[in-house]
Symmetry: C2
Subunit: 172 residues, 2 copies
């Protein structure tokens, strides 16, 4: 579909309103059962960096903010500067951990892909999808759909510790 055709799809505004200048799609929030398991997955397997953590002791939850930063991206040292910097950036992942869920038996959260459905997945794009998936195999990451499964041979879905689907596509 050409750009001109995309602009005539029903519902699409003729152009972005001037009042939305500077709006940024900043983050997506997922609840996680076990913060340690999720941080391990997102940092060790996928390469995210933890850029902020906020604890709400009284309400018994903590928020973890992660981002996949290009190598060498300077991360501001001070809390205040870092929070301003991260608020202006797209592609942040917020994980909410309600204290104590990690001690529950079995899954705590719903991945959105069986009834009731809604949220579907997040997606990480990679420069070399064959080597990325080979590495996920080596790391024994669970799959929802392997690269070679089904008709779509150019994408895979892995699963995070809560069972949320993470689509893997190529950006190369």
């Amino acid at each position: 579909m050409t750009l001109a055709e995309l602009q005539t799809v029903p519902g699409v505004a003729a152009q972005p309103p001037a009042e939305t200048a500077g709006f940024v799609f900043n983050h997506t929030m997922l609840r996680v059962k076990d913060a340690t398991a999720s941080l391990d997955f997102y940092t060790r397997v996928l390469g995210y960096q933890l850029i902020d953590k906020r604890d709400f002791a009284e309400a018994r939850f903590s928020l973890y903010f992660l981002a996949l930063l290009p190598a060498g991206t300077p991360v501001p040292e001070s809390d205040a500067e870092r929070r301003l910097w991260m608020a202006g950036m797209p592609g942040v992942l917020e994980l909410t951990h309600n204290h104590g869920t990690e001690a529950q038996d079995g899954p705590v959260y719903h991945d959105g892909n069986s009834d009731p459905r809604g949220f579907g997945h997040i997606c990480v794009s990679v420069p070399d999808i064959q080597s990325a998936c080979k590495r996920f195999d080596d790391l024994q990451v669970p799959y929802q759909k392997r690269l070679e499964d089904g008709r779509m041979k150019h994408l895979a879905f892995i699963k995070d510790p809560d069972g949320y689907w993470v689509e893997i596509i190529s950006n190369g």
Copy 2:
């Protein structure tokens, strides 16, 4: 929490693995009941641009890819170039429309914030949160939490046509 402290949170990898260089947190996918209503909301109210649409007539669904682009960002004309460009970019929103759901009565999808919980929200950051919320009022956008409600006076939650929560924070 200082940067050094963030790196010692349990589960956090010492540093991003070299094999994850070039990984990009590309998109988040949400299912929507009525594509026209959702495109109107995301483009007219929030300023997203529709950058791709893919139709799967046989399987009866369509995918809509949207992004909040800084003013003047050139969008590649050709399909192939545009798809490569968007795969390398963080902050894309993918909306999945299963054909026919728009004719069903009542809500079709689950926002993730009542049982069974999981996904929580997406977040758009804005340069001037007071004027952004004033504009949402003028546009009669429904709120989950107004700026002035509760203890957190620096953030709001609006709702998209499916009831998904969109957090509004300041990036200024």
